[in-house]
């Protein structure tokens, strides 16, 4: 629709504050943003098309390459969807190890997202502290799975490798150190007056608008919607998981929800290590024909795989609904509208933790 506007400001596709290329065409009336149009297509992989017709053994590696930041959850949701289709059960020890890997992945993703936000509002000191903390979490993920990013840790009927007792003790010690530092950094963010000026009351996403756009993850939980797929996951239910939510609806709330969730993840990992059942880590099983819709809670929110497989475990059809699709849409069509300056556009966009690789697949 063509409208007469004062200024049309294109941001991106390459922008210092964006981790990935995307173009936001902002319509401004003076400094106030009255409309945003999103242009995608700068990093389309066509990965769903590549997955079709391939056996699950190949697709599980492709799935974790959808996104380089939250690769573990793509691996987990794909494998758990195949397990649901084939009726494969997971040994209790493997189920707990999956939670540890998933929560470490969530921690590093949230820390990276909060680093990006601090960098965008030009608080580089705090940003670098968070990036340093993320590296420590990445090291722990590497200790557990053998790789930093594309771990392929979760396989049908279990996980690839166990955690030896010395490594478990090392992980406990690291978590203590990470939690101590994290509380200091989240306190710096929570009480920083300059941070509050750039974050409080900026990028408002009301609960109603979040619901209409199907916003998910920390973006929805910062708007008072306590939705989390982990509530429906049997292992998380055993661990007594309760989602974190806030009712501030702004950039500050979204960043603080992520900080709170990192602390929560540390608690969940501790509980898993403490209650880690004894036994095997691989139960075995054969992937069969079937069709399912399966959702898991990625760091950014609900990740859904629609999968149809044949009797040899080949993927006949697959559709991936990533959380960033909903969150970027809610961000650009709700949060950014009414922003008082162009500077708030980038900070609000980054506060929603947008992942363009996930969105374009």
């Amino acid at each position: 629709m063509k409208r007469t506007v004062d200024v049309n400001i294109p941001l991106g596709p390459i922008h210092p504050c964006f981790k990935e290329p995307v173009r936001l065409k902002c319509e401004a009336k003076g400094e106030r943003i009255v409309g945003v149009e999103v242009e995608l297509g700068y990093m389309k992989k066509g990965i769903e098309r590549i997955m079709k017709g391939r056996p699950w053994q190949e697709v599980m590696f492709l799935a974790e390459r959808v996104c380089g930041i939250c690769s573990v959850i793509h691996n987990m949701v794909f494998i758990e969807a195949m397990e649901q289709i084939s009726g494969i059960s997971v040994p209790p020890r493997a189920a707990y190890l999956r939670v540890i890997a998933n929560e470490l992945d969530r921690m590093q993703s949230h820390l990276l997202a909060n680093f990006s936000y601090c960098y965008t509002i030009e608080h580089e000191t705090l940003g670098m502290y968070l990036l340093d903390l993320r590296e420590q979490v990445m090291d722990e993920l590497e200790h557990l799975t053998g790789a930093r990013v594309t771990c392929a840790y979760i396989i049908p009927g279990g996980v690839r490798c166990d955690i030896p007792r010395p490594d478990a003790e090392l992980l406990q010690t690291s978590l203590d150190r990470i939690e101590r530092d994290l509380r200091r950094y989240s306190g710096m963010f929570a009480d920083g007056p300059m941070i509050a000026l750039r974050s409080r009351g900026v990028g408002i996403l009301t609960q109603e608008a979040a619901q209409q756009a199907h916003a998910v993850g920390p973006t929805a939980r910062a708007s008072g919607i306590a939705a989390d797929c982990r509530l429906n996951h049997p292992t998380y239910r055993q661990l007594g998981f309760v989602p974190v939510s806030r009712k501030d609806h702004d950039n500050y709330a979204r960043v603080m929800v992520r900080f709170d969730e990192v602390v929560q993840s540390i608690g969940l990992i501790r509980k898993c290590l403490q209650d880690l059942p004894k036994g095997v880590i691989r139960g075995g099983g054969v992937c069969k024909a079937g069709e399912t819709r399966y959702s898991g809670e990625a760091p950014r929110g609900e990740l859904t795989y629609f999968i149809k497989s044949d009797e040899y475990g080949r993927i006949v059809d697959i559709q991936i609904q990533t959380p960033s699709i909903m969150n970027i849409e809610a961000c650009c069509h709700e949060m950014i509208l009414g922003a008082d300056s162009i500077a708030d556009v980038t900070s609000t966009f980054v506060s929603a933790d947008p992942c363009v690789a996930c969105t374009e697949r």
Binding site: M1, K2, N8, E39, G41, H214, F306, I325, E329, C332
Partner: protein, 129 residues
């Protein structure tokens, strides 16, 4: 949007989004509901919605099925919130007079199906304007 010489033509990319399996199922369902050809609806969506909104259409439709127009059966049958706030196919300002007219007809004794059919006709006129 203001058009520049260097702007990409997004029509092929938007079309690819709309013919993906879940999107195609949804577009065909909406076309059937509004009784307009699928091609015409696709063209309307490509011209009026941006790429991100097109990508998010199935998720928005799911939320509309659960939450939209819970209290009013006439509004639910017509898709008052579904087509305006959730799918954003019609502007709210255009939908409100249609809804009030349909609601008035139902309260005046017109059978619900006939009133909704009249409302749909008005919605089609709005889409083709």
């Amino acid at each position: 949007m203001t058009t520049y010489l260097y702007e990409n033509d997004l029509v092929p990319q938007k079309y690819r989004i709309l013919v993906a399996h879940r999107h195609d199922t949804l577009v065909r369902k909406i076309a059937l509901e509004l009784d307009i050809p699928v091609q015409e609806l696709r063209r309307y969506l490509i011209e009026h919605l941006d790429m991100m909104l097109l990508e998010n259409l199935p998720a928005r439709a799911e939320m509309a099925d659960v939450h939209a127009d819970q209290d009013d059966p006439i509004a639910r049958a017509l898709g008052r919130e579904k087509f305006t706030q959730y799918l954003q196919i019609l502007p709210y300002a255009a939908m409100e007079p249609i809804f009030h007219e349909v609601s008035g007809r139902v309260h005046a004794g017109t059978p619900m199906e006939d009133a909704i059919a009249y409302g749909r006709e008005k919605m089609r006129e709005e889409l083709r304007r």
